[in-house]
Symmetry: C2
DNA sequence: CGTAGACTTGACACTACTCAATTGGAGTGG
DNA sequence: CCACTCCAATTGAGTAGTGTCAAGTCTACG
């Protein structure tokens, strides 16, 4: 493993921001993370970062831009499983699975870091708290998919749409990409339709209803949520599933057991900022 | 950690069967697993093993019986996220999350083992291959939820239903609970409806169509799939997402790095039975 | 033999889909 | 600077697929 130079002026990356909302990372952990994100590439919009059925390659971290994780049926019908935002990880399970059961495609130009899967095992051994934070991020991803399943199964078109907008707002806030109620939504209505299990026409009409009722405003790709509480209420949004609460004490007991290969001062109180 | 006595006659549990379909476990790993499943309880049907919003308790392993993992909206609408079958684990993320975003309720009488979450960290340190197999099982769970999302978003009622039946058949086969094309489906139509995002009436009509077309037979809770290939074709079922392929070589490199606290002969060829 | 829960079926309503036409911008080439 | 093109967004009209309501029917079981 190569350590990044101990420069103090490490930028805060979206991943660091996200993980920091969960637990307070030490300087050493932060540096290890920065090292993971060392190999950076840029990709244009509409690029496949991963393709359904293909073998997994490296693990990737989105540092900037949007992508979608989606699955397709043989006949072309498509479902967007989730939106991939800065700070999100692609192909975390590449160590466990042979080939991918979904595709990941960029919506905008993106900046992605990549590292070989072997480093995940290394991290579990050397920086268990960091590994736990990454596991939290992965588990949260599953929770989001389950919540979207609830949307498609039991929420109406209007509720689903409202719910998704609030979810994106919350997620973007964590990585400083939403201020007040507005953010950039670099997404066509076709993609929204594929995310919400609706037709393009119907998503269009649903957005119109939300606009007409004054809950949101749309100007090009900029969306403004005028009344988050009311929108959340329309979508029956309960942020429990985002698990934004700080790390439970339990975690320390489970992951920070007998030390090995690891000498960072780790007794910082994780709940200091809670 | 307490080791189970080294009796050779350890029963094969469903979890062991499931994990063995992924990698060949050593005798020591098998014994550790048996020890995890040492504390056993029985619960009657319609018991909540976990409740949405409640704090997580111990980790649990289903050894016998069926349960459902489900989420509810404030107004009572409900979505079944997945079926919990023997060999499945409940509350794996209890170390990472404070409270549960879903409920787990038994459908039949069940036999569950439980162990404190601390042991997961212990396992990562002492039996990394076993931990990896558990991670595989968890990642697979997410893949199933994503596939169901595709169903609810883009498959018709008939396709969804066919898909679910084939999925259950495949999953049950792994733990020896399905022979030829038939198995016990201890599930009311209401629950099927909640799993597939349909109304009870419509699920009933859809099952009728499947029966009338001769693809399946239903006798009480016994379901017989007459033509798996054709049913899979109706449901556009592609088992890629179940990741039933044996462990990739990559895994060894990542998880079986520098040894510590672990001296079991691990050089068994994982792909021996492949 | 009576009751309760699950299953079935018919009739009808409604959500969301399809088809089709139109509008609106952003880019491109003359 | 103005057609022209392309793609996304809109809107209308008609329909298909599902949901709702309501009335049975079946089966298990006390």
């Amino acid at each position: 493993m190569t350590r990044a130079p101990a420069s103090r002026a490490l930028d805060t990356t979206p991943l660091w921001l996200k993980l920091s909302s969960y637990l307070v990372l030490s300087e050493e952990e932060k540096m290890y993370l920065a090292d993971l994100e060392r190999t950076i590439a840029r990709e244009p919009p509409r690029t496949d970062l991963l393709q359904q059925g293909e073998k997994y390659r490296d693990v990737r971290i989105i540092r900037d831009g949007w992508a979608i994780r989606h699955k397709a049926l043989p006949d072309g019908r498509r479902q967007v499983v989730n939106f991939v935002l800065p700070g999100d990880i692609i192909g975390m399970y590449c160590t466990l699975f042979e080939s991918a059961d979904h595709s990941v495609t960029t919506l905008t130009a993106v900046e992605v870091a990549s590292f070989p899967p072997e480093r995940i095992g290394e991290m579990f051994r050397s920086f268990p708290r960091l590994a736990a934070a990454l596991a939290w991020s992965g588990a949260r991803e599953e929770a989001m998919v389950a919540e979207r399943l609830l949307s498609l199964g039991r929420r109406t078109a209007l509720e689903r749409t409202a719910h998704l907008i609030v979810e994106l707002l919350r997620r973007l806030s964590v990585v400083n990409m939403a201020t007040d109620g507005h953010f950039v939504l670099p997404v066509t209505q076709e993609i929204l339709a594929d995310a919400l299990g609706l037709s393009i026409v119907h998503i269009n009409r649903t957005l119109r209803r939300l606009r007409d009722s004054g809950l949101i405003e749309l100007n090009g790709q900029r969306i403004t949520v005028n009344d988050v509480r009311q929108l959340a209420s329309v979508g029956q949004f309960d942020e429990l599933y985002l698990h934004l609460i700080r790390v439970p004490k339990r975690l320390e007991r489970a992951f920070a057991g007998p030390r090995h290969q690891n000498n960072n001062k780790r007794e910082d109180d994780d709940r200091a900022k809670a």
